[in-house]
C-alpha cells in the first residue's frame, strides 16, 4: 500500500513536472524551431530571429531558450501555459497572432507541461531579440484585443467521442500542434482565418499559393504518395517541394512517428471536401 502510494506520488510528480523527452517530440510536432531560429547556417535552435513577412509588417520570432535576459529563463510554467493557451505575455500584454496561439490554445495542459520541461532543458542563448517591424497602425498592441475578440477562441482540444482515437489524434496533430491551418486556411483582410474555408488552401496575402488539404485535392494522391512526400519533401516524380513546406517537412512531418503520420493523413482524409479557391 505504501509502495503503491509512493509510486503514485512519483508518477504524479513526473506528470506535474513535465517530461522533457516527450516535450522534445511535441516541439517537433509543433514546428517551434522554424519561427524561433534564424534562417542561416549554424544558427542556434530556439534562439529566435526568424523574420516572418506579412501584409501587416515583419515579425521576428523571439528567443525561447532559458536565458535569464534574452530568453524566457525568468518565466514560470504558468507563464508559459498562459502564453500558449491565451496568447498573453507574462506582463499581461497580448501577443500578435503571428504567434499562432489560435492553434496552440488547443494543446492540452499535460503537453504544455512537457513542452515547457523541454524548453527548460535547452542550453541558454544570449541572442537578443529584435523588435517587430510593423506597418502603421498594426504595431498598436491593444488592437490585438479586438482581433482576439473577433477571431480567437481559447480552450484545449476536446476529443470528439463520435470519432475514433486515430481521427482524434490526427485532428490534434493538425489543428493544435501542427498549426497547419495557419498557412493552409485563407485569411480575411484583418488576418483572421476564414473558418468556413478551413484547410482549403488558396492564396497567402503575399500572393503565394497554398494547397487545399481537404479531400478535394488529397483524394488524387495515395497514402503512400502522401507519406513519402511528408517524409522526403519529394513527389513520386521527383519534384521538390518549395522551401516553406520543405522546412515543415524537415522539422515536423518527417519527424513524426509512423502512427502519428497515419493519424494525420486519416484526419485530413476525413474532413469535409471544400472546393478550390477561385483563382
Amino acid at each position: 500500500m505504501l509502495f503503491a502510494l509512493l509510486l503514485f506520488a512519483a508518477l504524479g510528480d513526473a506528470f506535474a513536472q513535465g517530461d522533457a523527452k516527450r516535450g522534445q517530440y511535441l516541439a517537433k510536432a509543433g514546428g517551434c524551431v522554424g519561427c524561433h531560429t534564424e534562417d542561416r547556417e549554424g544558427a542556434t535552435p530556439f534562439a529566435g530571429g526568424r523574420a516572418l513577412q506579412t501584409p501587416f509588417g515583419t515579425f521576428y520570432g523571439p528567443n525561447i531558450t532559458p536565458d535569464q535576459q534574452a530568453g524566457i529563463g525568468r518565466w514560470s510554467e504558468a507563464d508559459f501555459i498562459r502564453a500558449l493557451r491565451h496568447g498573453v505575455r507574462p506582463d499581461g500584454a497580448n501577443y500578435f497572432p503571428s504567434f499562432p496561439y489560435p492553434s496552440f490554445t488547443r494543446i492540452t495542459d499535460s503537453d504544455l507541461k512537457d513542452l515547457w520541461a523541454y524548453l527548460r532543458s535547452l542550453p541558454p542563448s544570449a541572442r537578443a531579440n529584435q523588435p517587430h517591424d510593423l506597418r502603421f497602425p498594426f504595431g498598436w498592441r491593444w488592437l490585438v484585443w479586438i482581433w482576439k475578440w473577433l477571431f480567437f477562441t481559447p480552450g484545449p482540444f476536446q476529443p470528439d467521442p463520435a470519432k475514433s482515437g486515430i481521427l482524434n489524434r490526427g485532428a490534434y496533430l493538425v489543428d493544435a500542434l501542427g498549426h497547419c491551418g495557419e498557412c493552409h486556411t485563407p485569411r480575411n483582410f484583418l488576418g483572421g482565418s476564414k473558418k468556413s474555408r478551413y484547410l482549403a488552401g488558396g492564396k497567402l496575402p503575399d500572393g503565394k499559393g497554398v494547397p487545399n488539404l481537404t479531400p478535394t485535392r488529397l483524394k488524387k494522391a495515395s497514402d503512400k504518395d502522401l507519406k513519402d512526400f511528408l517524409q522526403t519533401g519529394q513527389t513520386s516524380d521527383g519534384d521538390v517541394v518549395a522551401e516553406s513546406m520543405g522546412e515543415v517537412i524537415r522539422n515536423t512531418t518527417s519527424q513524426l512517428t509512423p502512427p502519428d503520420l497515419e493519424a494525420l493523413l486519416a484526419y485530413l482524409r476525413s474532413i469535409a471536401p471544400l472546393p478550390e479557391e477561385k483563382k
Partner: protein
C-alpha cells in the same frame, strides 16, 4: 573598304544566325526548360529517398546521378527567356522582376550539385546524405519564390 564591309556583314549575319539558334519559340523554350527540370527530378528523387532512409544507400548510383545533376543544373536557365513570360507555366513574374535573385538561386543549385559530385566521391555516407539534403533544399529555395504553388 570592301573587305571591312564584308567583315561587318559577316559578323552581322553570324550574329543573326546565332541568335536564331538561341531563340527557339517561347513555347519550345518552356518545354525544354521543363524537360531539364523533369530530368533533375528523375535523378534527384532516388537520392532523396536514400537520404531519408527510404531506399538502401548505393554510393555508385549517387555518384552517377550527381554527375548527371551537375550538368542538368545548368540547363534550364536560358529557357527563362523574357519571350516566355506570356506562356502558360508555373513560372512567376518574379523571375524577370527580381532577375538578380533568380540568378543567385540558380547559382545556389549549381553549386550544391557540383558539391554533391565532390562529396559523392568521398564515400562518406553521412556527408553524402547531408549534401543530398542541401541540394534538394536549393531546388526548394527557387520553387519558393519563383514558381507558382498550387
Amino acid at each position: 573598304m570592301k573587305s571591312k564591309l564584308a567583315v561587318v556583314t559577316f559578323a552581322l549575319l553570324l550574329g543573326v544566325t546565332l541568335d536564331a539558334a538561341a531563340q527557339a519559340k517561347p513555347e519550345v523554350l518552356v518545354k525544354q526548360r521543363q524537360a531539364a527540370m523533369t530530368l533533375q527530378g528523375k535523378y534527384l528523387g532516388p537520392l532523396g529517398a536514400m537520404a531519408q532512409g527510404k531506399a538502401p544507400f548505393n554510393a555508385q548510383i549517387v555518384q552517377r546521378n550527381a554527375g548527371y545533376l551537375e550538368v542538368l543544373s545548368k540547363m534550364p536557365w536560358d529557357g527563362f527567356d523574357a519571350s516566355t513570360k506570356g506562356e502558360k507555366s508555373a513560372a512567376l513574374p518574379a523571375i524577370w522582376e527580381k532577375a538578380g535573385e533568380f540568378k543567385q538561386a540558380q547559382e545556389r543549385f549549381e553549386n550544391e550539385a557540383a558539391k554533391l559530385v565532390q562529396v559523392a566521391k568521398s564515400g562518406d555516407e553521412g556527408a553524402i546524405k547531408a549534401q543530398i539534403g542541401a541540394t534538394a533544399k536549393s531546388c526548394g529555395g527557387c520553387h519558393e519564390n519563383f514558381r507558382q504553388k498550387n
